[in-house]
């Protein structure tokens, strides 16, 4: 056959031979499957909590006091004291952890530079995020509650424990936000004769504020849901205690925990209602954080 009459070679543009393609497709399906595997329990939990909790929650449920689980007859009671406790304790914890955390982040990013101490502090803040929450609770128990004898339990102690939990989270997320602020802004401020503190407070912080707030909100959501730090610091009583600085009190996660392990009838319903309330609070905080991030990104355009 002469070269002129030979069939021109068709370029082989088909996909790679069978097995390779199939294998890749299988792997991709597995990846999709992993996502599905995650949706199922999440959906299951949320659906259960909403279904069982919705029939229980209501204004009276949120505002009335709890009925001790060991009395008869078992009405449903309410979770008012727990909501008050959670709001007060988490607010107090945030008031302590957020400013201290932002200042710590300022140290690492603005003052520490590439120094050894800043690297150590950053590394240890990361490590501290992994400390079990129950250890935080026991720490505050040993160092604070015990000193007051039987009177040591208080919302304040719980706030200390939650604050210790939040501190490293706020430090790391704030630090990431500060890192994003371009150096040209700092230089512009220095060139106008500002001191380092001024530069940080009047230019860098405002520029990073949206991200810092969003990170703080997520840390608050995390703290609101924590039980273990509260176990040995606020004790968990049934009555309402407005005073966050003195006297044992209760909080939503603690209430859910005791109701979950309680054999009494009303406890289960109360638990679901409280769980729904807690998830709603965490969810609202998370959405707010997202909104703040989105708004912040738009402003910086």
């Amino acid at each position: 056959m002469s070269a002129l009459t030979a069939e021109p070679q068709k370029a082989d543009l088909r996909e790679p031979a069978g097995w390779r393609r199939t294998k890749s497709r299988i792997m991709t399906s597995l990846m999709v499957l992993s996502f599905v595997v995650v949706i199922i329990p999440l959906g299951f939990v949320l659906w259960t909590v909403i279904a069982k909790g919705a029939s229980v929650v209501g204004w009276s449920f949120w505002t009335s006091g709890t009925i001790p689980p060991n009395t008869e007859p078992l009405g449903l009671g309410g979770i008012g004291p727990a909501i008050v406790g959670t709001v007060e304790i988490v607010a107090l914890a945030s008031a302590m952890a957020v400013p201290l955390g932002v200042l710590g982040a300022i140290y690492i990013n603005e003052y520490g530079g590439r120094g050894v101490l800043a690297r150590i502090v950053r590394f240890m803040a990361d490590v501290m995020t992994g400390v079990p929450s129950i250890v935080m609770g026991l720490f505050i128990f040993s160092i604070w509650v015990l000193h007051f004898g039987t009177n040591g339990f208080s919302g304040l102690a719980g706030a200390f424990a939650l604050g210790c939990l939040m501190l490293p989270i706020v430090i790391r997320s704030s630090e990431e936000m500060l890192k994003l602020v371009p150096d040209s802004l700092r230089e512009g401020s220095y060139a106008l004769g500002a001191t380092k503190a001024r530069v940080t407070v009047t230019v860098v912080l405002p520029a990073a504020l949206g991200g810092i707030v969003s990170g703080a909100l997520l840390a608050i959501a995390r703290a609101a849901g924590e039980t273990a730090p509260l176990l040995f610091t606020i004790l968990g009583v049934q009555s309402l205690n407005w005073n966050v600085f003195h006297g044992a009190t209760t909080a939503l996660p603690l209430l859910i925990f005791s109701n979950a392990s309680s054999p009494y009838v009303g406890a289960e319903g109360r638990g679901w209602g409280a769980a729904l309330t807690l998830i709603a609070i965490a969810f609202i905080l998370m959405i707010t954080a997202r909104l703040v991030t989105a708004r912040f990104a738009r402003y910086a355009r």
């Binding site: 890749s24 992993s34 996502f35 935080m136």
Partner: protein, 326 residues
């Protein structure tokens, strides 16, 4: 020298005195404040170690090395904590085995498969998973999930009873609240953190390497194996270790669904106990050496999680540093 005509707010431009201001007090105070807050982290960590150890000395002196025996009996004044250490290890391992393939799968899905626009709902779902408080997982776990699982366990157990490997693992005894249930719930809880960290690591793989693989005619899976995995290996290991640390320290969900009975057994469907759970459940009514024992268990837990976290962060950082220098 000619006179300067404009008013200088900081002082006469011609004089040198005004140039020599001392560093304002506010500036130095602010720096000290920031430094203090940074050091706070170190101070707290050291204090945790000190105070909890102090509280547990009577346990160490009473038991000595017997703390590592499986002999926890408060009424008989015996406090060997081996069962809890075992339980912590087992549930954490189960959680890792279940969570890591899923988390890495999702991370790869987000970085390699799904276009960025469509990735957002997936990220939201993972974030939602993270937002569910541990006590709610526990509540659902003990009231809904565990009873349901019990049926499944029973059928599996009756099936494998007597068989060589699976029997001891999955045979009788069976309880809804067990090592395995706790492991599953822990897996749900650590998935978000392993996913997000793996995603961060995988996202730093240079696009050039990925394109190079594709340009050679690789399928997506071949590209992942050839270009993505070598780069992100270290970081993913770090992410797994972090998940391990988190699984070991998670208290409330485990306390509710692990079964609360100290036991060292190969039967994963049997009820068990782990370190954070026993502390949560027994601390309230404990006294004396019992309480010291629980504190000491907390010290062990603290030490183990610190070690795991230091390892994990070290690996992640070394991976990142190697990438930067490469």
């Amino acid at each position: 020298m000619s006179a300067v005509t404009q008013v200088d707010p900081a002082g006469t431009a011609g004089s040198t005195r005004a140039l020599s201001e001392r560093r304002p007090l506010g500036d130095r105070t602010f720096q000290a404040l920031a430094l203090g807050c940074g050091l706070l982290v170190l101070v707290i960590l050291v204090l945790i170690a000190i105070t909890t150890s102090q509280q547990s000395t009577s346990w160490f002196s009473a038991e000595g090395f017997k703390i590592f025996t499986n002999n926890w009996n408060p009424s008989a004044n015996q406090f060997g904590a081996l069962a809890f250490i075992y339980g912590t290890a087992i549930t954490a391992v189960i959680a890792i085995v279940l969570a890591v393939p899923v988390s890495v799968g999702i991370a790869l899905l987000l970085t390699e498969v799904v276009p960025p626009r469509r990735a957002r709902p997936i990220v939201y779902v993972v974030d939602l998973l993270a937002v569910v408080p541990s006590v709610v997982w526990g509540l659902w776990g003990i009231l809904v999930f565990a009873p349901w699982l019990q049926h499944i366990y029973t059928s599996i157990a009756s099936g494998v009873n007597g068989t060589p490997v699976l029997g001891p693992l999955f045979g009788q005894p069976v309880s809804g609240a067990s090592f395995f249930t706790a492991g599953i719930i822990l897996a749900f809880m650590i998935t978000p953190i392993v996913t997000s960290l793996s995603r961060e690591v995988i996202a730093t793989v240079p696009t050039i390497d990925k394109e190079g693989a594709y340009a050679l005619g690789a399928t997506r899976w071949e590209m992942i194996r050839g270009a993505v995995w070598p780069h992100s290996q270290g970081g993913v290991v770090g992410a797994v270790l972090l998940g391990l640390g988190r699984a070991m320290g998670e208290t409330i969900a485990a306390a509710l669904v692990i079964g609360s009975s100290p036991a060292i057994t190969s039967h994963l469907f049997a009820p068990g106990y782990n370190m954070p759970a026993v502390i949560a459940n027994q601390f309230g009514e404990s006294t004396g050496v019992w309480r010291a024992g629980l504190m000491g268990t907390a010290v062990l837990l603290f030490a183990i999680t610190i070690i795991v976290n230091v390892l994990a962060r070290g690996i992640v950082e070394r991976n990142a540093r190697r990438k930067r220098g490469a």
